[in-house]
Amino acid sequence: MSDGGKVGESKREKRACADEFGRAVSKIAVGQICKNVGFEGFNESALEAFADIAVRYLRDLGKTSNFYANLAGRTESNVFDIIQGLEDLGGSMGLPGTSAVGDCVTGSGIVKEIVEYVESAEETPFAQPLPHFPVVRHRRMTPSFMQMGETPVFKSIPAWLPAFPDKHTYVHSPVWNERVENPLADKIELARQRRKAESSLLSLQQRLVRSGATEASTSADIAAGGNGLVVAQSKNPFLAAPVQAGEKDVSPPVLPTKLSDGAIVENHVSLVEAFAPAIDAVKDGFYDSGTNAGKSLPDKRPTVQLNFKSGRKSIGESLDLSIRNRNSGKTTSWFGRDDERDDKKRRAELILRHSMDNPTELTQL
């Protein structure tokens, strides 16, 4: 029998009846009543059976009193219906409780018994506070056609029915790049960016010249600049890292102030990213103090090796090499465009010639 009970209990644990909460509460209530009567312990199965009986009694009482109310033509029960229901269920024990057929209900023994019980029994309220149950969960319903403001496609569908899902949830549409290509604008933009780069190079060049460092060795940091501004040992002044725009006082039209910080209004993101490692390297290598807006470079600056060759060809060649040596993908657009390269070459030569001719003077492009 104990085995059977165990098996039954395990089955019971797996099956969760819908009324579990109510049953649990009734179990507690019945347990409390039994404790008041005098019991000290309960068998689990006996307590569950007892709770089940209590639930049945409640439901039967409700059903019977509802039946009597309906019989009298009412939907809501009143006290007389309940009393008649109580009598029906035979809740009274013994003969004094029975009522004769003709007697008024209010004089029935059952009421008296209840009254006696209430007066005699000690009041023990339920052990824990209970919320109002069952809890009604409000589900969010699919909006109807009317609520969505749509009209159903098919005439046979009334508007108060839930709407169909949006088309994009089940129809696969091809994805393509929405941006319209404008080659002319791209070219103009590219040229403008290049000009700015050159002006920054020029400013650096001028700065170096001013400080009087004709021979310098590059720092390893600068050489390792990931943007492709590879400063070869014996090569080009233009391959040095650009100067931070804020520090050097240069005539305004030339200087691209926007290159100094990251806040670029126009679409120069690629340029900033290109110079950023170099700028960082410059910062690390060059500065021991904070913002240095002075004209002179600080002492600890590693020297940049600048080899000023007189021949233009060599400059041109080195420039070509510089172009080829660039690793950055951002400047790959500069490759393969021969006419633009020539143009750049010419401009670079111009700049260098200017700076060489006037080494101590500030020159403008």
Partner: protein
Amino acid sequence: MNQGQQSNQGNRHHDDDAALSEFLASLMDYTPTIPDELVEHYLAKSGFQCPDVRLVRLVAVATQKFIAEVATDALQHCKARQAAVVKDKRDKQQKDKRLILAMEDLSKALRETLLPNYGYARELLEEI
């Protein structure tokens, strides 16, 4: 005579009604062990519809009374069972003093409550 009876009955009605309404009022002070929410839930399940809290309390109290009666009967059975089992006079003190609600006591008590003449009917059947 009929009229006298009726008037007597009328008086009785009056008293009973008064007593009933008094009782219902007093019910609000008494908190039954069976909580109101539980009673309301199961009454709603069976179709009982009433906005009056006093009636809910009445049902709760009636149920509590019923349960208490059954429990009392079961307790008596349990005690009787324990008294019957007297193995050793020495062990009487160490006997299982705890009164535990067991299935057999419960079933007996229920049978007697719901079918008061069960035993009597059985005897009748056996006679036959």
